[in-house]
């Protein structure tokens, strides 16, 4: 059997249903085998989007997403997508063609050292040199991508390895000496954590992206309710806890709610679940610790413990298992402090900030659009975002009610992620609406995915908060660079409605809140991708926010 055939067979054995990709000389043999295979191929217009689509598919399905490209420029175009998935711990398997083994290192046409390039931005990468290695390589790739802390894995396949035949052995499982993802949490650490939480005066939970990856929503909610501890989420963890729950304070950090940022500095014990303590979540590290807060850190990745902050009690393992065990111990011990005073304080701060928001006037503003969008969308709608002000507005004003329905590029902050990720999400979940909350700059970066969305009949909704500038950068120039506005004006080009139409999608421009509601209703019924262009003021700022490098307490309110 040829290497190419073995690859397809191995992918089938991993139950791969869809591949996002774009062919080229060095991967044609595999594409030829795909012709007869019962695997859907979705043709992209740029390989970056193939990786983001696989990523969106993976985040929603919690299975590995697969993307495939040719060697050289095809492979290098994947880099942003791989780095995005790596930073957000998303399992994707990327397959790249490579020049024949005899040409490797000769600067052959379309040769690039993608193994060297992708090493720091993948969880693992492999380049089989003999076709007989392919079945095991594929098995390893899926195993590594989806277990432990998930991440992208790249398989680089030289052309001759695809062509040549060998006797193939398809393994059912794989063991790797240096990789043991099944860590059982230490019961004594859980017991200590339970004691610390029960005796806390002002406990708080910070829920990170790993809670979504581990599908540990119910467990998290049960622990929070038992402890009567308010819950803040990191931006990656947004929507890991229902944002309409009385204990929810919403996202913390740079994109966070002011009440979350205020109250976390008043907590005495913090249970951080599957969060990597990003500077975007907790602000300047020294200031965060200076509050005297005691930290319990539960995470599947031991290298996250004390990477950025000292921790009082580390618990390593799958957070779903940890939270289940923790709840058992908590219930058994069952002597908890009276939390009335703390909860009153929480309510007081919440009211203080939430009453500030004035949404009365008729004029279109980003916060109003997002609040309206929440009203109009069914609660199971999957939402992605682009990067910039649109992302921060979504964080602040779009409440996620059903856990695990919100996805953004939070680690790398990749403009152009949201739209292809939405397409990938829609492929994984065709029966729920999928919406990308976009900025005009970001959408422009991967707008060519409109072709894929239309031709492959994967209808998603794009809501562009169109300020005709690189908004987040413009906001910084206004606030910190004395209004020296360089390189931010997008001149409202292209016309997003015409652009959508040029690709065969539906484009709607709205000038009022009423038109916006109508457009969303229309889009929800449409079986073609709809781009809703919402012109907003180029001068609108996002508030509150925490300036990078400063402490949470120094958040800028307005």
């Amino acid at each position: 059997m040829s290497g190419a055939k073995a690859l397809i067979k191995a992918l089938k054995r991993e139950k791969v249903e869809v591949i996002f990709g774009l062919p080229g000389g060095a991967i044609m043999r595999v594409y030829d085998e795909l012709y007869d295979a019962d695997i859907r191929h979705i043709l992209v217009r740029h390989e970056q989007s193939a990786a983001h689509m696989a990523d969106g598919y993976a985040r929603v399905s919690r299975r590995a997403g697969v993307c495939m490209t040719t060697s050289g420029p095809g492979a290098t175009n994947l880099v942003t997508g791989l780095a995005t998935a790596y930073m957000d711990s998303s399992p994707i398997v990327a397959i790249t063609g490579q020049v024949p083994t005899s040409m490797i290192g000769k600067d052959a046409f379309q040769e690039t050292d993608i193994i060297g390039i992708s090493t720091p931005i993948t969880k693992y990468n492999m380049q089989p040199r003999d076709p007989s290695e392919i079945p095991l390589t594929v098995k390893k790739a899926f195993y590594i991508a989806t277990t432990g802390r998930p991440g992208p894995v790249l398989i680089d396949l030289p052309k001759d390895v695809q062509d040549k035949t060998a006797d193939m052995v398809f393994p059912d499982s794989v063991k790797i000496r240096g990789y043991n993802p099944d860590v059982q949490p230490d019961p004594s650490a859980i017991a200590k954590a339970a004691d610390m939480l029960l005796s806390a005066e002002r406990p708080m939970i910070m829920s990170g992206g790993g809670v979504i990856i581990a599908n540990a929503f119910q467990e998290l909610q049960a622990v929070a309710e038992f402890l009567q501890a308010p819950v803040v989420t990191t931006f990656k963890g947004k929507g890991s806890f229902p944002e309409n729950h009385p204990l929810s304070l919403g996202p913390v950090g740079m994109h966070g709610h002011p009440e979350a940022n205020k109250l976390i500095t008043e907590a005495d014990v913090l249970l951080a679940v599957a969060s990597r303590f990003s500077d975007r979540s907790v602000g300047r590290f020294d200031d965060f610790i200076a509050t005297g807060i005691k930290i319990i850190h539960a995470d599947i990745d031991p290298s996250e413990i004390e990477k950025n902050l000292p921790v009082h009690i580390p618990i390593i393992g799958d957070v779903k298992v940890i939270l289940t065990e923790l709840l058992k111990v908590l219930i058994k011990k069952a002597i908890k402090k009276d939390r009335t005073k703390w909860l009153e304080r929480v309510e007081e701060v919440k009211q203080q900030f939430r009453n500030r928001q004035d949404l009365g006037s008729k004029e279109i503003t980003a916060p109003k659009i997002l609040k309206k969008l929440r009203e109009l969308l069914p609660i199971d709608t999957i939402v992605t975002t682009e990067v910039g002000q649109n992302q921060m507005w979504a964080s602040l004003h779009f409440d996620v009610i059903k856990p695990g329905t919100f996805f953004s590029s939070t680690g790398l902050g990749t403009m152009g992620f949201g739209f292809p990720a939405a397409i990938g999400a829609k492929v994984a979940c065709p029966n729920v609406p999928v919406v990308d909350i976009a900025g005009d700059g970001s959408f422009g970066m991967t707008a060519n995915s409109l072709a894929t969305s239309v031709l492959e009949k994967i209808p998603v909704i794009v809501v562009i908060l169109n300020n005709s500038v690189l908004g987040m950068v413009a906001q910084w120039q206004r606030m910190f660079y004395n209004r020296r506005m360089i390189a931010v004006d997008l001149h409202n080009v292209p016309d997003m409605v015409k652009l959508a139409e040029a690709y065969g999608a539906q484009g709607i421009r709205v000038q009022s809140m009423d038109e916006f509601s109508k457009a969303v209703r229309l889009a929800l019924k449409s079986d073609v991708t709809t781009v809703i262009d919402v012109p907003i003021s180029p001068e609108e700022n996002v508030f509150p926010f925490v300036v990078p490098g400063s402490a949470l307490k120094d958040m800028v309110l307005a």
Binding site: P120, I176, G178, K307
Partner: protein
């Protein structure tokens, strides 16, 4: 407070692993003082001995990052008190006059090192030992004029 740390790792013996290990150090901003690689008693495994200068939290983080690499099978921090650790140095010295030749040879004897090459202008000595011993030897003989110097970096095994 920084000090010399010896990390001993067992890694898969295959292409690219040294790159993955050293690149992890670079990408995370850690400095490597020395790194040695060679085969072990098992042909499919290599031992990498890495010497760094770091405080305790940095060392801990480094060990975790190393352990996280899939091609790294095992990581140990070696306590110099409880280990045999050695480095090899080859030192080519200027030695034209008979007097300096004799002096070099006698110093070499004191340090238990060997003269491995002699020409009309140079003498090359080989010395193995702890980095401190090699440092001391270099200090003593440098007045003769060092033409070329090559050190391997430390390799180590725990005692017992």
């Amino acid at each position: 407070m920084n000090k010399m740390r010896i990390i001993s790792t067992i890694v898969e013996n295959k292409p690219g692993v040294l790159y993955k290990v050293s690149n992890m150090f670079r990408a995370r901003g850690f400095n490597i003082d020395s790194i040695t690689v060679g085969t072990t008693e098992k042909t499919d495994l290599s031992r990498m001995t890495i010497v760094i200068n770091a405080d305790e939290p940095t060392l801990k983080q480094l060990v975790k990052q190393l352990a996280k690499l899939i091609d790294v099978v095992h990581v140990d921090v070696i306590d110099p008190q409880n280990a045999i650790y050695r480095e090899l140095a080859l030192i080519k010295l200027n030695a034209i006059e008979t007097k300096s030749r004799l002096e070099i040879i006698s110093y070499a004897n004191v340090f238990d090192s060997k003269v491995v090459d002699v020409s009309t202008e140079h003498i090359t000595v080989e010395i193995t030992g702890t980095p401190e011993k090699i440092d001391a030897f270099i200090k003593i003989i440098s007045p003769f004029g060092i033409k070329e110097l090559a050190r391997t970096g430390v390799t180590a095994l725990t005692r017992g």
